[in-house]
């Protein structure tokens, strides 16, 4: 049943432009065979719209969608393949299992629609249900399935057709935290076995980090960043991505090289930030580059909240070259760490700092308190923010 030579032909290449009601989606993406592309973005960014266009459920205004050597969409040439003829499997955000059919009949629906005899379709479907671990729930209606079971059934329904492209719309969003971990691990397994191209929509960065080879970040219809999970988490280009991956991102008004190596950024309000990186690092748009023209790039400093030290009194001269006066704006108690949200006195920039509960106990901070933050220049990296 498995296509023997799918490699190569399953690659997905798409340029999708959709315009409606003042919303504009403009995305270019490429997924190699066997690759998993995660599309990350806030509510309303256009993630579902993108998937619907790839699935053929929306006719794009312009662009081009190609799978292997088949053109699926080319509005300029008047080409639009119906969803039925695309060979693209979709797992919808809320699964959309047919409520009147059993799990087995849901999975068998696709093969039956392709003319597979009933008996064979049911056997094949049962095999897939077993494979995703719910072989014993084959007779249950969707209403009787738990969230995790529904997700697996929806996955089986898409995979039984052996599509060359698989689209997943927030496949884990409806699951509770514990089920979610299991399903995420299983999904990771299926995707590794699956030979086609996968596009995974999510707004959970953890999903993207664990499941994807590459990430594109979609904000308000345009791609603001693309790169491997590591690249994106290391060098966020937008505040959204920075918040998502838990980094501080400070945009500079100006950037200059320092005589002794490294560079200095001046931020709005006059805040100075030093980095050990050479200024040229901020110009390197290669991995994390956005679609938007290069003119929109701003040099920026990126550093982890755990690299920020918090002092209740101004620290003496020492190795950290960055020392900023700030005020505590908020405190969040996490399991193992305490995250402190500070506003710098110069320019009012938000800086997050993670400290251990023990340190917190010594500092005895409350919102509004004055603090000093220090960050070693070697922990501060330069990047090009959008």
């Amino acid at each position: 049943m498995r296509a023997p030579d799918r490699a190569g032909q399953a690659a997905l290449e798409a340029l999708v432009l959709v315009e409606r009601d003042g919303f504009r989606l403009d995305v270019r993406l490429t997924v190699p065979s066997g690759g998993v592309l995660a599309v990350l973005g806030p509510n309303g960014a256009g993630k579902t719209t993108l998937l619907r266009a790839l699935a053929g459920l929306i006719v794009p205004n312009a662009g081009r969608v190609r799978v292997g050597d088949r053109i699926l969409d080319d509005p300029a040439a008047g080409i639009h393949l119906e969803p039925q003829a695309r060979g693209i499997g979709v797992v919808f955000q809320d699964y959309l299992l047919f409520p009147h059919l059993s799990a087995l009949d849901n999975v068998a629906f696709g093969p039956r629609a392709h003319g597979v005899p009933a008996r064979e379709a049911r056997e094949r479907s049962q095999a897939w249900l077993t494979r995703v671990g719910i072989g014993d729930r084959a007779g249950a209606r969707p209403a009787a399935l738990s969230g995790g079971q529904s997700q697996r059934a929806a996955l089986a329904r898409a995979l039984v057709l052996e599509p060359s492209v698989l689209l997943l719309d927030e496949p884990l969003a409806a699951l509770d935290a514990a089920t979610r971990m299991d399903v995420r691990a299983d999904l990771s397994g299926y995707l590794r076995e699956f030979g086609g191209a996968t596009v995974l929509v999510t707004h959970d960065p953890l999903d993207a980090l664990i499941l994807a080879d590459e990430i594109i970040v979609l904000e308000a219809g345009v791609v603001t960043q693309r790169g491997t999970p590591q690249e994106v988490s290391r060098a966020p280009r937008t505040d959204y991505v920075a918040r998502l991956v838990g980094q501080n991102l400070l945009r500079a008004a100006s950037l200059r090289g320092l005589a002794g190596g490294g560079s200095a950024l001046t931020l709005a309000g006059g805040l100075e930030v030093s980095s050990a990186d050479e200024p040229s690092a901020a110009g390197m748009l290669a991995p994390g580059s956005a679609e938007s023209g290069p003119g929109q790039s701003t040099p920026a400093a990126v550093f982890s909240p755990s690299a920020v030290f918090v002092h209740s009194a101004r620290p003496g001269a020492g190795s950290p070259r960055n020392v900023w006066a700030a005020r505590v704006a908020g405190i969040e108690q996490h399991a193992a760490i305490v995250r402190i949200r500070c506003l710098t006195e110069l320019g009012g920039h938000t800086v997050l700092a993670d400290v251990t509960p023990a340190a917190m106990g010594e500092l005895r901070l409350r919102p509004g308190d004055q603090v000093w933050l220090s960050v070693k220049a070697v922990e501060v990296h330069l990047t090009a923010a959008a």
Partner: protein, 288 residues
């Protein structure tokens, strides 16, 4: 292996899809057009036949008479009044029907619903007789109205409205019942936790939520009341200006002047369609 060959008709389908935008997987399949067009033809062609046979030359003289004006006014007013009564009494009935599931046995609800269907099944003339037996001068209830208050309902415009209400009520009740059944009751829960009394919840939460169902039911009611003939003439009689509605005029004309009857029916139809089409948008909400 399930194959995904590019089929010859793919391109044709693609071109047909044409302009950009949402295209739904469930576009109208060709096979459905055939019965749909037959159905439309079946509903529309008799009307065309009526129009074809209408004596167009004599229409002005048929229509612009005070009698026709009276009948038309009476029809519209009584149908509107009946619709109002249906809404006023039918909405609570629909509500009891749906919400009785909280405390009543299923049998109770099935019997109640069956009773609501009675006026639909009863031949209208028999319905009129039943109303006479109930509210007539010697009727079950009517005799007391007459003996104690000197009130006699038959042969009054009130009787017309009651007859129309009787036959139209099921439409409202069933339409609202469906809407209520589909409404999310958790909004009512939310309102209760905010301290709203049941009555306030009904007025400010439930009713707005089922407004489209009420409107749809009211449209059906109005149409049915407008076309009512058998129950009206039996219960209310037919006196020009008081109880002679358009359908009764048309029926009477049929006996002496069939062409005139057709003209009257077409007028009734035209007026009611104008009312329905023009009310629709404000009534039922945009996009309906």
């Amino acid at each position: 292996m399930v194959g995904y060959e590019v089929r010859a008709d793919d391109r044709a389908a693609a071109r047909a899809a044409g302009r950009a935008g949402d295209r739904r997987g469930g576009g109208v399949p060709g096979a459905l057009w055939v019965p749909a067009v037959i159905a439309i033809a079946f509903l529309v062609l008799p009307l065309v036949a009526l129009l074809a046979k209408a004596p167009w030359g004599s229409i002005p003289e048929q229509l612009f008479t005070p009698e026709v004006g009276d009948a038309l006014r009476l029809s519209l007013l009584s149908a509107l009044a009946a619709t109002a009564l249906c809404v006023l009494f039918g909405v609570p009935l629909a509500w009891v029907l749906v919400r009785s599931s909280d405390w009543a046995s299923p049998i109770f609800r099935r019997v109640l619903r069956a009773l609501v269907l009675v006026p639909l099944v009863l031949p209208p003339v028999v319905g009129g007789v039943a109303l006479l037996l109930l509210l007539g001068r010697r009727g079950l209830a009517g005799q007391y109205l007459y003996d104690w208050f000197g009130v006699s309902i038959p042969f009054t415009t009130t009787a017309v409205v009651l007859a129309q209400t009787f036959v139209a009520m099921p439409f409202l009740v069933l339409a609202v019942e469906g809407a209520l059944r589909g409404a999310d009751r958790r909004y009512e829960d939310a309102a209760a936790t905010l301290g709203a009394s049941r009555w306030l919840i009904f007025r400010r939460v439930t009713l707005p939520l089922v407004a489209p169902g009420v409107s749809a039911g009211a449209v059906l009611c109005f149409a049915r009341a407008l076309g009512e003939f058998g129950a009206t003439i039996t219960f209310a009689g037919s006196f020009p200006g008081v109880t002679q509605t358009m359908p009764i005029s048309a029926y009477l004309a049929l006996q002496s002047n069939p062409d005139g009857a057709i003209v009257l029916s077409l007028l009734l139809l035209a007026v009611s369609l104008v009312v329905l089409v023009s009310l629709r948008d404000r009534w039922i909400g945009v996009g309906t």
